[in-house]
Each structure stands twice: as C-alpha cells, then as structure tokens.
Symmetry: C2
Subunit: 340 residues, 2 copies
C-alpha cells in the first residue's frame, strides 16, 4: 500500500508552501503551469484527493481565534486574554488558548494544531526558546499562506504581520526617572537574560534614564536573573551585601516582591533605605507591605487591540500595510517609593 499523502508532505517534497500545493491542485493560475502539473501528477500517483478534509477545513470559517502564550500562571498574560475575549466575543468570535510553556517545539505543535481548521487566525506571544533560537520558520510559513497573524508583547520585528507591543523602553525610563526624583542614585536593575526582548528593552530604558540624569552606569548594579535557578537566592545576593543599592527596578512583579521581602529580612526600611518598583501591576503588588509601585502594562487594552487587528485581518477590513501599535505604560505609585 502506498503511504497516505497529505498536503504538507507534497509541499515538503517540492519545497513549496501548503498554500501553493492547495492552489496548484485547484488549478489556480497564480501557480506556474509547470509547478501545477508536477504537483498534480505527484498527488495523483498517491491518490491524493484535492477536496480532502484538510483542504476544506482551511477554507472554512470557524469564528474562532487561537491564542498562544508562553505561560499561564502570569497575571499579565491572563489580563491580555481577558481583553482578547472581551473584544472577540463582542464581534461573535470564540477564543481558544494554547500554552507554549516557553518551548519552541510546543509553539510549533500548537500552531499546527490550531491552524488545522480550528481557528480563523492566531495571536501569539513568542516562547523564550523561539527568541533564543531565532528560528521563525513556523511563522514565515503562516505568513506565506496569508494566515491571519498578530504578535504581541514578545514579537519579532521583521516578521510581516500586525504587532502590538508595550513601550518597554519608555516604561523603564519613567520608572527609573521616578526613582531619581525621590533622591535615589544607586539604582539596581533586576532583569532577565538578554535574549528576552522585553528584558533587554527595559534595560535600555533604565540606561537611558541614568544617562539623562547624569548618573554613571555601574555594571555591577545590573543583575541578569536566571529563571532556571532559585530566584530567592539570586536576589539575596543583590541585597545582602555590604553596601546595598538604594533602589531596585525589577522587570517583573515576582522579582520585585521577592526583593521587597528580602530587603525587609535584612532590616532595610522601604522606601527610605531602599525603594522598589516592579513591572506589571498584578495582584501581588497591591497586597505586599508596603504595596509596590508598578509599571502598569495595560494587558486588557493590549488584548483588545490585538483582537481588533486580527479580526480586521480575518474579515479583510484591515489596511494593506501591517500595523505596529505601541501601548504606553504608566506608573502606579504606591508606598514602596512614596517618601514622605
């Protein structure tokens, strides 16, 4: 028996996209006669039926939006999903969420599952591993197929699709300026490894503020947290030193909440001895003691905007050029930086 043949296998055989195979089998004049003939001959040999399930599925509207996020135990992503849901439901769409768990392979498999007829378009925030590998073939294939796609928060600039990002440079710049305004000079940055774009953009904003305020850059105050190692122990090394920093800017809420806890353990007064700001105003920041000043990322708004861009793309009401929307974060000042 001949092996079962799929659109994908034919596409791989000839090094073309699935969309090209699909068009060739439908005798579309967008495809050269030569390519059409050879694809049809190959498909015929393997008894491929052009009006197969997969092909029908690709052309059938589902009124469902697929969303892929790196992790779910994360207030920011949860609020983005709420925003996507709200806008999508208003427009008569359902939403399906998959997790990449920061893994490249899972991101690829999620895309393949969701685009196999389940959804009309995709909203994705890139997995850490994808950013690390810089391998975007799975997105390039979607783009080639004209599959509606919007990236948010963790994006890749040169992919041809709509994007919604936060002005991370501006957010960190505002936060660092605020720390300088309350009299701080030795501001430590708790950031991520460089390949996480949001981490390196926030570092850029932090450095920009130091330069603007004539504060020398002290590389020993910049800590790149390794998420695979114990968070508490890493942050302890920042604060349990002879001469601790007088302020901390953390690129997320968990780093900030840990810093606050550890500073209190060392007997430091907040904000007088050490002021602390985190990114993301989630549930934790409000309930720490003192509550944490945060860079508010407007996840709900971000979700609404990504859903709007995607649905416009699905319904062909979008402008031809891809949009890049930038959301400006603002500071929510709480007691962790409120000097009386």
């Amino acid at each position: 028996m001949k092996p079962r043949i799929t659109l994908k296998k034919i596409a791989n055989e000839f090094g073309v996209s699935i969309s090209t195979v699909s068009k060739a089998l439908k005798d579309s004049h967008e495809i050269s006669e030569e390519t059409r003939e050879k694809i049809k001959a190959f498909a015929g040999f393997y008894n491929y039926k052009p009006n197969s399930l997969a092909l029908q599925l690709r052309n059938q509207k589902t009124s469902v939006i697929g969303v892929i996020i790196p992790e779910i135990v994360h207030h920011f992503f949860s609020t983005v999903i709420n925003g996507i849901e709200t806008y999508a439901n208003e427009k008569g769409y359902n939403v399906m969420v998959c997790l990449s768990n920061e893994s490249y392979d899972k991101e690829v498999s999620n895309i393949s599952v969701l685009t196999n007829g389940s959804v009309d378009g995709l909203i994705v925030s890139l997995a850490r591993e994808t950013q690390q590998n810089q391998n975007f073939k799975h997105f390039e294939a979607l783009i080639k197929d004209d599959f509606p796609l919007v990236l948010f928060d963790r994006v890749k600039d040169d992919l041809a699709c709509d994007k919604v990002i936060i002005d991370d440079v501006g957010g960190a710049y505002k936060a660092a300026n605020h720390l300088v305004e309350i009299g701080k000079r030795r501001i430590a940055l708790l950031t991520t490894q460089d390949y996480i774009t949001v981490g390196s953009l926030r570092k850029e904003g932090y450095l920009k503020s130091l330069v603007k305020n004539d504060i020398g850059i002290d590389e020993s105050l910049i800590y790149k947290i390794d998420d695979k190692q114990d968070l508490y122990e890493q942050i302890k090394k920042v604060i349990f030193v002879k001469n601790p920093p007088d302020a901390i800017l953390a690129v997320n809420e968990i780093y900030a909440a840990n810093a606050l806890k550890i500073a209190k353990e060392r007997g430091l007064t907040i904000p007088n001895d050490i002021a602390i700001i985190g990114f993301t105003s989630g549930l934790i920041s409000e309930f720490t003691s003192p509550p944490l000043t945060s860079v508010v990322q407007h996840g709900f708004l971000m979700g609404k905007q990504t859903a709007e861009l995607l649905i416009n793309r699905i319904e062909h009401t979008a402008s031809k050029e891809y949009q890049k929307e930038v959301i400006s974060p603002n500071l929510k000042i709480r007691q962790s930086t409120l000097i009386k």
Copy 2:
C-alpha cells in the same frame, strides 16, 4: 434554495441527539428502523450528505484535549491547567483552553466549538451561572454521545462522567480546627453565595468544626460575599465593628488578603488580635505581611488526575464505572496564624 442542513438541525427537528442522527444516517442497527427511515428521508430532502465534514470530524482523532474554566485570572485554575498540560504532553496530547467567564451561554458555545472536531475529549469546571440555573442539558447531550468528559472542582454530582474534586468540607474543617487550637472562638467565615458549591461545602466544614469543638454557631459571623459588589467595602463591614471576630476563615485568597489588609488598617495585630486563613495558596499569600496561612488545594495534582482520567476514557482504557477522585487539601501554616 433550500436552507443548509446540519446534523444538529436534524437532531433538533426530531428531538434526538446528534449521535442518534449520525448513527441513523449510517444505518446503524442501534437505532430503530422507524427513526432511521424518517431521519434519512428528512436528510435526503435537504440534500444532507452523510459523509459530510462534521461527521468525518467527529470520527477523527485529534490528540487534543479541550479545557473549559470559569476564569483565567485565578491562580488555582492556572495551576490546574499546568497539571493538565504536563500529563497530556507526556501522553502526546495538546491542550486547548476556553473560558466560560462564569456564563452559561459561553459554556454552551465553548462546548459546541470544541466538540466540533477540534478535540477528543473535554475537561470542564462549571460556570457560576450554570450552577445557579441548574441546567445541564449541554453536558447530558455530550454524555449521550459518549463524548469523553471529566468535570473538576465545580462539578454536578449526578452527571454520568468522571470527576475530580477537592475535599472542601475536610479542608475547611482542618482550617477551622487549627484556629480553635490556637485559641480562637469567634471565627468569622467569609464565603460565597450558596449556589457556588465549593463555597457551601467549605461552610459545611466550618460548621462541622464548630460543632466538634463545642463552639456555638453564630449566624452573624457568617458573611456571604457578593462578587458583583465592592469586595473591600463588604469585608470592611466584618472587621470595622465594635467587637470584631478573633479569627477569619476565607474561602479564597483574595478575600483573605483583603481581610488582612483591612485588619491592619483597623490597627489589629495579626495573629494575636485576629488570625486569618485563606483557601488557595497562590502567589498573594506568600507575599502579604504577615504571610497568610492557606488551605493548599494541589491544583497541579488535580490537573494531572483529570487529564489521566480523560485520556483513559479517550483511549478506552478506563474502567466502565465512572470515577470520582477526591483530593485532600492540607494546611500551609504561615505567620497569619502562628502564635508564639
């Protein structure tokens, strides 16, 4: 032109399940000849093709599990999803998550979207509105169709499917006993409205503990929080009274964290003046000051168990009888109840 006919429309027309229609069109002997003939005649009149997309889809394995949860900004549900993901991925399944946003209609529409060929089985925690309405027809239809289904946490006992629940009575009983052991007698309960099963089960455990410990039940210490109204103001009314309770047992983390904040605002010492315990050991409990003692619900374990039950059902390796697994919560004691 005749209107397009679907399996569902035919099923509605005759008041039978989609599965019955599907079987009738395939001439299955499970269906009476009379029913088969009338369904076939009707389908024929409308040019319904029995080997249509929907029918093929229903019979095609997707290796995807669908999950419907009431809300996403909720640490407990996030950890359950992580548990489902972990087990499902090990077994080669992907996971798709939809939100009901506590709405009956959304739950129905999520089920219809997910079971239309996207997934092999469903894991659901009931929406608040579904529990309120006590309308379970959408689940009864799935069960009639032998569609693999597992309910967790918020379940309906008499639905014929596998279930995983937390021993909510036992958890609240342990928590209230602990408060009595540290010398508390006037224990207030912050719970939900009665139709939320987990709320009323936790109330049952609380009452059981009072009876066991010979403490009279004081109905004025039982507060049913209305989630549609301002949380802070409602909890303020519990604590800003002449003679506040000496302990609070809250059925979730947010109620507990708010109670702690408000007690501090009133100048009460925790745990000496007032001890506080919440359900769900999420991120908040660890970072409040003092940190909150919590009833740990083992969401991750719960997720793994639901996924295991579902996959056994999908792969026909489950026992014929439906399982009801009960997870015992335990207390994570932190400073909010630690009397020195």
